[in-house]
Amino acid sequence: MDITTKYMGMTLRSPIVVSASPLSEDIGNIKKMEDAGAGAVVLYSLFEEQIIQEQKEVFYHSTAGTYSFAEALTYFPEPDEYRVGPEGYLDLIRKAKESVKIPIIASLNGSTNGGWIDYAKKMQEAGADAIELNIYYIPTDMNLTSLDIENNYIEIVKHVKSAVSIPVAVKLSPFFTNMANMAKKIDDLGADALVLFNRFYQPDIDLDYLEVKPQIQLSHSSAARLPMRWIAILKGRIKADLAATSGIQSADDVIKMLMAGANVTMMCSALFKNGIYHISQVEKEIIEWMTEKEYESVQQMQGSMSQLNVADPSAFERAQYMKALTGYRF
């Protein structure tokens, strides 16, 4: 049984890829991921904003209260070097590359052009096999137009693509006026893959303390429907590879995504719930299903149920119950 897949020019042993999450902060976990059969690992996201925040924090606390009182002019020893830049992350890339054979995809989240480019280059130098640009922010400025936002995305992709030679995937949210158009624009810039979709922290209200607490909830299979729709729609219409993320829990979820057109499926919540070795279990079930259904390879089924390849393409476009009931074709 051939379960290999192609993703951004790389051949992966399996279409199950570990998506960016705190699980990959630990090199031991990355080794386990390889051991469990992951096709590749996307490292947790390096947040430019977090780096800036940490620098400010260290700066603030290492200067707070200093030179105020004659006996206590400072409170901390002054090291020659603080690792307040991306060094820790780059070390992780290096260590991961030394420890495992599967591709290591670095994930980068930023907000300024300067940060993106610099960090992307450093990731490449550290040995990352590819970069996943994790672009998301919640625009709240009422004067910002959708065009401004889209142009910002385009600028980022353009800059990063021109800065590195390794493949670049772009992880998007679904919240665009016209997702298809956005996908095309990014595809036109030469993005090597689209990763669909990002899941946001969503605010919640703590009724005991009357506080807003943003948190992320582990996804369920139902969350896979949205990316599945867009993967199916985009498959065959853009050059970039497609990665499905959100709600990939089981072999069924993986298979559905592959059929819709995903090159890889990315898993995170399921690993939190069931442990890293859940990957082996899912792989086993995929093989069982493929055996039962007499599929020879993953690549055989990839895109077999994309919008272009299904009998009822409009099924992927239905948005409402009514439409679903009354839809028909001349």
Binding site: Q55, P79, R83
Partner: protein, 1196 residues
């Protein structure tokens, strides 16, 4: 000759620079102002820097200076090149070992930043009383007069000690030299190598103790031989001066800097000469130079090698023409014929003349004088005063200079206006706020000028005596010639006011030179500024024909992402206006320096600072100075008109910065000061203050409980008191049933001018506004618009009588907080984690409390002038407070107990004896009173009053005796308070002894887990992985479990509390500890600025510490043991969050991830394991079943 390298550093760094390079073992202990020397060495060792032999010296922190001296002695005996650093009381603790080290002829150099010894008061500042106390140890004494000299003499001392075998005490003036930054020539390693003879080091090693060539040292000797054996060392002392001079000559060949044992400078035909040591030599040299140009025949002898005192060389240094000599000592020895240097000089002159040494043939007139105690200024004006004094036929001996002694009239006059400041020197003064980065920027500026130009530069910084809202004054000099002016600037060409609020507080411009420049940071437009200036400022500006510039630095800093740090902005302004360097060039240097300084802190920090530089010049404006004064206000009076006389005449002047002008007669003779004086110092340092929303407040008292400065108070009262309430005075119905039923009102009032604006009250407030949850029952609002009305409300609030203490249920916070704090408005940091505990104790027991306070933060905010926070209640009772030392606090407080008990015993026996006269009933009641509760105490006080009334009518000796001790019949509460440095380290031996005695004392350990007061050095209370000074790579060992050790006695009440985690638990522990008739120790989690936390929300740290098991809450009450119960109650629940969550919320731990991630991982893991293990262990101890009588063998 090697290429010269110049660098701008301070005296401590200069001393450490050499000491580190020529030693192998360094044993240290923090004490101001020497701590930095140890810190430098520790930091360099942590970074792996090597000494001149390619070895990284071992740096160890000991538990005390005595411990450090012992370790040094041992290390020297075992053959390593070893050094240490200290000052003041620290040096005293080393003296026993110094006698041994010298007696055994062991080469070493002790570097001392000389500091005043505590006598009638503690002082952290410089004089020679410490080093003079060590002069009989047998150490050689070498005195440095400048930062350059410190580096040079450090090396000369090391070379000399190795050759002479006599240990050296190398000293320089604390703060004036230890903290003064100067551009100096750095001695390169090849010269150090050349100065140190390795053969002598080999000989040192050969003499060491080793089982391979065993000897015995330290015998006990008897009257038959001790004396003659002691005399064997004489030849070494005789040889020593020649060795030092030879070494100085060799040093001169290598560096071009020539020193002599006694350096004379002045007219070859001088008639009047001053002899002195250390930093005072420099301004004297400068003054002599000036006076010689005026044709005066004056000179100065700078004593370099004070011990062994080379009489012949001293005589040879004195010009033949000298008629009068003034020997100046920076110390005081009451009762002596004169101070030490004076006495030595007299002796030397007599011996020298007898031997026919030197050029003079007859005994000149010699007088001794004292100057500069505790870093008192020593200026050319005073020096000229001394020379002028010598013009008198019979100059006064044993005089003082620099003060006004209107009691014993020792002081000599001088003209304070006399100034010799050169026109070539640029002098700048900067008034900054501790937190705004002013000092850092100035340190940077003098480095820029020092290192990029041929100019010499000097920086000296004067800090506040408070820790919150502190004012810093930077004194900077730049000039083409060597700067010898070791005194503060009084005629500045440039003065900068970095905070607008200073305009109404200080007369900054009194020191502005004619035609000088004044730069003000203010949030006003350039057109508005003039009218906003106070009268005094406008007057100075007009009269001095000054130039005025302004910038809204806050706005520029904020727009550059720098928040409140306006330092870079103001630095750019200084360079732009002052003309020290061409503007463009200066800005280029600033930018370069920003890149170098901040690169390691991250690109963003560099970017923000560069942005601030770019944003500055467009916002800097010159303001034309009109011809007339338009001011509508003036600088505020330091204390109100109704303040007591002493407060107005002494304290007020100190607040205004005019303490130097207060005469001797104004002061108490024995160090006794009135308490309750902080109430008069309205500091107005808060930008915003809490405002009460009475409509939603639940009257829980938590805000009052956590307020570190006792600026939030609550009261319940009869509504009749509201009759004259100001219109904005707030109140509401009391909620507690007992007060509500009486129809009483409740008020929560803030002292707007005393609040530091820390915001901890808002953090703790549990109530949220139902229609807008960001509002609580107490909210921060800008202070300025509220200042006047709230000040009136505060005054009115204080006029309402506090609720009767007997009506208060002290067992719950909401009522207990009605008790009036007798510790208020201290100078502690905004948001301090220690003061809420002291305040709580003062509320509960303050009216019968006597406090022994270990030196440290709590003694500084508790007892530093000008004003002190311990207060009195309406009956005039309140805590009596004293500080003995750092190391002896437990014993000191124990002494209180002994005296109190003894006087109570005397009172009781007199009561029994006088029962027939006094009345049996009253005597019985007095003797058997139950004083465990507040009403019990109250009733006993009534009885004592009755007793006193009766006694006043009796005229017997016994009646008088009983009258003098009658107050001791009311129970006194002895509190022994200090930090972890005291309790865990330096004072542990005494603490352990005192808790083992069964005496009724209460020890409060304010555990910040670090030496906070001396700037964050590691203590044995520092948790594993905590980054602190002397633990730059994270503390490698676990925190000492002091509570467990105390519990081992089984007779000690022990509690571990964290008020931010559970305030009611803290309250319960304080009540139980005080009620326990025996020793009690409360270990109190005290968050601290040295933890690197958000000081606006510090209580979160208590919760995280407790929830993670990093800090346990428990009480161990031996009274339970007596009842057959398990004495230990574990009040903590099973840890529910990982320790890492707590550790990652504090910079002291988190930073290790940024500097040494591998160590961090390891320490985090151990910390987690330890937290769980410790919890389980305590759980096991607390769950054991106790049956029947005490199980002393099972107490822990």
């Amino acid at each position: 000759m090697t290429n010269k390298r110049f660098q701008t550093i301070d005296g401590n760094e200069a001393a450490a620079y050499i000491a580190y390079r020529v030693n192998e073992v360094i044993a240290i202990y923090p004490i101001t102002p020497s701590s930095n020397m140890g810190e430098w060495c520790d930091e360099w060792a942590a970074k792996g820097y090597k000494n001149i032999w390619g070895v990284v010296p071992t740096v160890v922190e000991m538990q005390s200076e005595g411990g450090a001296a012992g370790a040094v002695h041992g290390s020297l005996q075992a053959g390593a090149l070893t050094t240490t650093f200290t000052a003041a009381q620290g040096l005293l603790l080393k003296i026993p070992n110094m006698f041994k080290i010298a007696g055994e002829l062991t080469p070493t150099v002790f570097n001392i930043s000389a500091r005043a010894l505590a006598t009638h008061a503690l002082s952290i500042f410089g004089d020679h009383s410490d080093v003079m106390s060590a002069r009989s140890t047998g150490f050689a004494f070498l005195a440095s007069d400048s930062v350059q000299c410190v580096m040079d003499f450090g090396l000369i001392a090391q070379a000399s000690t190795l050759e002479s075998r006599i240990p050296f005490l190398h000293f320089f003036d604390g703060f004036r030299t230890s903290h003064e930054e100067m551009k100096i020539e750095i001695i390169p390693d090849d010269i150090i190598r050349e100065m140190i003879n390795d053969e002598l080091i080999r000989k040192h090693r050969e003499r060491s103790l080793s089982p391979d060539h065993p000897v015995l040292r330290g015998t006990a000797q008897n009257p038959d031989v001790f004396f003659q054996n002691r005399e064997t060392i004489n030849r070494f002392y005789t040889a020593c001066p020649d060795i030092v001079q030879k070494t100085m000559d060799k040093f001169a060949e290598l560096t071009g800097r020539q020193y002599h044992l006694f350096d004379y400078f002045g007219a070859p035909d001088a008639e009047r000469v001053i002899v002195l040591m250390a930093s005072a030599c420099e301004p004297t040299h400068e003054t002599v130079e000036y006076l010689m140009k005026q044709g005066e025949k004056v000179g100065v002898i700078k004593v370099r090698l004070y011990r062994p005192f080379d009489v012949k060389r001293f005589m040879e240094a004195i010009p033949a023409t000298v008629k009068k000599i003034a020997v100046l000592d920076r110390t005081k020895e009451p009762g002596a014929i004169g101070e030490p240097l004076y006495q030595d000089c007299i002796n030397a002159l007599v011996e020298g003349l007898n031997n026919g040494w030197g050029n003079i043939k007859t005994m000149p007139v010699v007088v001794g004088g004292r100057y500069g105690l505790s870093s008192k200024e020593f200026t050319p004006a005073m020096i000229k005063g001394v020379y002028d004094h010598l013009l008198q036929d019979r100059p006064k001996n044993h005089f003082t200079v620099g003060i006004n002694d209107d009691v014993t009239f020792t002081s000599i006059p001088y003209d304070p206006e006399f100034s010799i400041e050169s026109d070539k020197v640029i002098r700048a003064l900067f008034y900054g706020l501790g937190s705004d980065g002013t000092v850092s920027a100035n340190k940077n500026s003098i480095k820029i000028i020092g290192e990029n130009t041929d100019f010499y530069s000097q920086g000296y910084y004067v800090y506040d005596s408070k820790k919150a809202g502190t004012v810093t004054v930077s004194h900077l000099r730049f000039g083409p010639e060597k700067i010898r002016s070791t005194y503060l600037i009084t005629k500045a060409n440039f003065i900068a006011c970095h905070q607008t609020v200073f305009l109404e507080k200080f007369d900054m411009l009194k020191n502005l030179a004619e035609g000088g420049t004044f730069l003000v940071n203010a949030p006003f437009s350039k057109d508005e500024l003039w009218d906003r200036l106070p009268l005094t400022v406008q007057k100075h500006l007009i009269e001095k024909k000054a130039r005025l510039f302004t910038i809204d630095a806050q706005k520029v800093a904020e727009s550059s992402g720098m928040g409140r740090r306006i330092n870079t902005v103001m630095q750019v302004c200084f360079f732009a206006i002052s003309g020290v360097l061409p503007k463009e060039q200066a800005i280029e240097y600033i930018k370069e320096s920003i890149k170098v300084t901040y690169a390691k802190k991250g690109d963003e920090i560099v970017r923000m600072n560069l942005q601030a530089v770019d944003n500055t010049l467009d916002n800097l404006f010159e303001v034309p100075i009109p011809n007339q004064i338009t001011a509508k206000y003036d600088i505020r009076q330091p204390v109100p008109e109704n303040a007591p006389k002493f407060v107005k005449e002494v304290v007020g002047k100190i607040i205004l910065g005019q303490g130097d002008s207060i005469p001797v007669s104004a002061f108490p003779v024995d160090g006794t000061f009135p308490t309750a004086t902080t109430q008069y110092e309205k500091r107005n340092i808060a930008l915003s203050i809490p405002v009460w929303d009475e409509t939603i407040c639940i009257q829980c008292g938590k805000c009052a409980m956590v307020c570190p400065h006792a600026t939030i108070r609550q009261n319940v009262y009869d509504p009749k008191y509201l009759e004259n309430a100001p219109p904005t005075f707030k109140y509401t119905d009391a909620r507690d049933k007992e007060y509500k039923d009486l129809g009483w009102k409740y008020t929560l009032q803030v002292a707007p001018e005393d609040c530091t604006g820390c915001g901890v009250c808002v953090e703790v407030c549990p109530v949220k506004n139902k229609t807008n949850v960001k509002l609580k029952a107490i909210n921060m609002m800008p202070q300025l618009p509220l200042r006047e009305t709230e000040a009136k409300n505060w005054e009115f609030f204080l006029s309402i009588p506090p609720v009767n203490r007997n009506l208060i249920k002290v067992s719950n916070i909401r009522q207990q907080q009605f008790q009036v704090p007798l510790f208020e408005f201290s100078g502690a940091c905004a948001g301090c984690g220690e003061t809420p505990y002291i305040k709580l104790a003062s509320q509960l027991f303050g009216d019968r409390m006597i406090i022994a306070n270990a030196t440290g933060c709590s003694s500084i905010y508790g007892g530093n002038l000008p004003t002190t926070p311990y207060a009195k209640n309406s009956e005039g009772r309140g805590p009596a407070w004293s500080n003995s030392l750092f190391e002896d606090n437990a014993e000191f407080g124990f002494g209180y107990r002994l005296a109190i008990d003894k006087q109570a015993d005397i009172a009781k026996s007199l009561l029994i004896k006088m029962a027939p006269e006094i009345g049996e009933n009253l005597v019985n009641e007095l003797l058997n009173a139950d004083q465990r509760t507040e009403p019990g105490i109250f009733e006993q006080r009534e009885r004592v009053e009755l007793l006193k009334k009766k006694l006043s009518n009796m005229n017997t000796e016994d009646a008088k005796k009983l009258m003098s001790v009658a107050d001791y019949l009311v129970r006194k509460s002895v509190w022994i308070i200090g930090g972890d440095g005291w309790a865990y380290d330096i004072g542990y031996g005494g603490l352990d002894h005192v808790i083992a005695t069964n005496k009724d004392v209460n020890l409060l350990v304010l555990d910040t887990e670090v030496y906070s007061n001396t700037g964050g050095q590691s203590s044995k209370a520092t948790p594993i992985g905590g980054v602190a000074k002397f633990a730059a790579d994270g503390k490698p060992t676990l925190k000492k479990d002091l509570g467990l050790m105390a519990m081992a006695y089984g007779t000690v009440y022990v509690a571990s509390v964290a008020f931010g985690a559970r305030d009611e638990h803290t309250l319960k522990a304080f009540l139980e500890a005080e009620a326990y008739n025996g020793p009690s120790i409360i270990i109190a989690y005290s968050h601290c600025i040295a933890h690197g936390i958000n000081m606006e929300e510090p209580l979160k740290q208590h919760r995280l510490a407790v929830d993670s098991g990093q800090w346990l809450l428990y009480r161990y009450n031996p009274d339970l043991l007596k009842q057959g119960q398990n004495p230990l109650i574990l009040d903590s629940k099973e840890p529910k969050i990982p320790v890492s969550e707590y550790m990652n919320s504090e910079t002291r731990f988190k930073i290790l991830n940024k500097t040494n991630p591998e160590a961090a991982r390891q320490y985090y893991k151990i910390a987690q394991e330890n937290a769980l293990r410790r919890f389980k262990y305590y759980q096991y101890l607390a769950e054991r079943k106790f049956n029947g009588s005490a199980h002393n063998e099972n107490i822990i």
